[in-house]
């Protein structure tokens, strides 16, 4: 449903600008994650380096949006849907910033790992995990852009796939480490990258939960969204 406009045009503009800034921040985060994964899989040292030094842009946006939200709260005392939007945004940008940190981390490890060959089997697994994470992140930002609680709930449920994949790769890495202890240092770096990807999934899940709160006022954190729960 298209929500009516505020009587105050400036208030409309303020909220619209906050929303579009979150989306710009989301685009930037998405690009960072995409580049980090590409650099990791293709041993692109240049790109890895770029990812590892670009995080400041995301941090800056987080601070700017935070300040804008504080300003709207101070000036407009938002209520109901507007209040939930502002609260959700403050939380969403924290998760986005953390996703940026994880991408930066992957970039840093990718830089060090670039000279090492990632075993072919591992490559396929990493690639599969990477693309799942990208899909989830993309759908998450999409659900925010459309304020689509249904889509957000679906994304939350799909995070289980990431967790499965993460466990699978962890077992694989353990086997590799046992088979060739000489490569343990390298394998540990891969482990940290995989861990970072899994965390990106978790942060996306959080963002989706904030979207659900913003849209229909339900706090769905710490409940299993794929199971029916009381009150619905």
């Amino acid at each position: 449903m298209e929500v009516q406009q505020h009587i105050s045009q400036q208030y409309n503009k303020d909220l619209k600008s906050i929303k579009s800034n979150v989306l710009s921040m989301g685009c930037l985060v998405e690009l960072q994650v995409q580049n980090a994964i590409y650099a990791l899989l293709n041993q692109d040292q240049e790109l890895a380096k770029e990812v590892s030094v670009s995080d400041y842009k995301i941090n800056k946006m987080e601070m700017e949006i935070d300040a804008d939200c504080a300003k709207v709260i101070a000036k407009r005392q938002p209520a109901a849907g507007d209040l939930r939007l502002v609260i959700a945004v403050v939380k969403i940008i924290t998760d986005l910033e953390r996703i940026g940190d994880e991408a930066e981390k992957i970039g840093r490890y990718a830089k060090k790992m670039a000279l090492k060959e990632v075993a072919a089997e591992m490559h396929a697994e990493l690639s599969s995990l990477g693309s799942k994470v990208m899909t989830i992140l993309h759908d998450t930002l999409d659900s925010f852009a459309r304020m689509d609680a249904q889509q957000a709930i679906k994304v939350v449920a799909s995070d289980a796939q990431i967790d499965d994949e993460f466990n699978k790769i962890s077992r694989l890495l353990l086997t590799h480490m046992m088979e060739s202890p000489r490569n343990i240092k390298h394998m540990l770096r891969v482990t940290w990258c995989v861990r970072a990807l899994e965390r990106i999934g978790d942060h996306s899940q959080n963002i989706c939960e904030h979207v659900v709160y913003s849209v229909n006022g339900k706090d769905v954190r710490h409940v299993h969204l794929n199971k029916p729960h009381q009150g619905d």
């Binding site: 009516q4 406009q5 109901a80 849907g81 209040l83 939930r84």
Partner: protein
């Protein structure tokens, strides 16, 4: 009887939220108010709990003040005004034939938008009602009552040396507290407040709001306010009126974070119009 319905007919047949509660101090059922042929309130039912502060909000002309005035029969003074339905105070029909409106108004006091102290001394302003209703038997008791009422209204310390100066010489905020002292001097059970702070500055407003919260320990308070933030700050329950219909009643937190009705959401987020 079929009512003449508004353009929002489909959406607002029933009041959303929780208009009814157990152990209500005031129960209004199917209240309808007409000014001659114009209907001002449509089929409104709501309970007001003991020691609760209930805020009534809504755009100008939505009927919130009209409804408030029904609660102590202030509308009786308007010739063309007709009221249907039932309003009970402690299970007692306030519109029953044997009910004396003057005694009712002693139980259900009212504070108005503009401070309206009598052009008498501060002391006499507070003592007036008590004398009228014969609440005290001697001067000492009356002095005591005046002091206690001014104290409870948070005004005593500011005026204790000027009790015999005119009440109209006080500042706006002090005058409003004087009116509150005058109201509570006759020990009502319910206090109705019709935009009690709209003529006051933010500091005086904060003082009155603090006072309301304090007073709600002893009295039941119904407040009509144009300031949504005020409703959010002081009340436990909020009722939203729109074009004579009671759209939603919910606990205040719900109304301001996640209202049930789209019209409530539109109004409190500033989208009404």
């Amino acid at each position: 009887m079929m009512n003449k319905r508004s353009e929002f007919d489909v959406e607002i047949n029933d009041t959303k939220g929780t208009p009814f509660i157990d152990n209500a101090k005031i129960s209004a059922r199917n209240v309808e108010v007409f000014y001659e042929k114009k209907q001002a309130i449509f089929n409104t039912s709501i309970d007001i709990g003991k020691n609760q502060i209930v805020a009534m909000i809504g755009p100008s002309g939505c009927g919130k003040s009209t409804f408030l005035r029904c609660l102590n029969r202030m509308n009786d003074t308007i010739q063309s005004c007709q009221i249907r339905g039932e309003i009970k105070l402690d299970n007692e029909d306030i519109y029953a034939r044997q009910q004396d409106p003057v005694l009712l108004r002693a139980r259900v006091g009212m504070v108005f938008q503009k401070p309206n102290p009598f052009s008498k001394s501060i002391y006499d302003n507070v003592a007036y009602g008590a004398k009228l209703h014969g609440l005290t038997s001697n001067q000492v008791e009356l002095d005591d009552l005046v002091e206690k009422s001014l104290m409870r209204a948070g005004l005593f310390n500011e005026v204790k040396d000027d009790l015999h100066k005119p009440g109209t010489g006080l500042s706006g905020g002090q005058q409003q507290r004087l009116c509150i002292a005058r109201t509570i001097a006759i020990d009502p059970e319910v206090i109705l407040m019709d935009e009690p702070t709209s003529a006051l500055d933010p500091i005086a407003t904060a003082v009155i709001e603090e006072l309301m919260i304090e007073l709600s320990k002893k009295y039941t308070i119904v407040i009509v306010t144009h300031s949504m933030q005020q409703a959010a700050r002081v009340s436990q329950r909020t009722a939203y009126f729109h074009m004579g219909h009671l759209i939603e009643v919910n606990d205040t937190n719900t109304v301001f974070t996640n209202p049930e009705h789209q019209l409530t959401e539109n109004y409190i987020t500033g989208r009404f119009g």
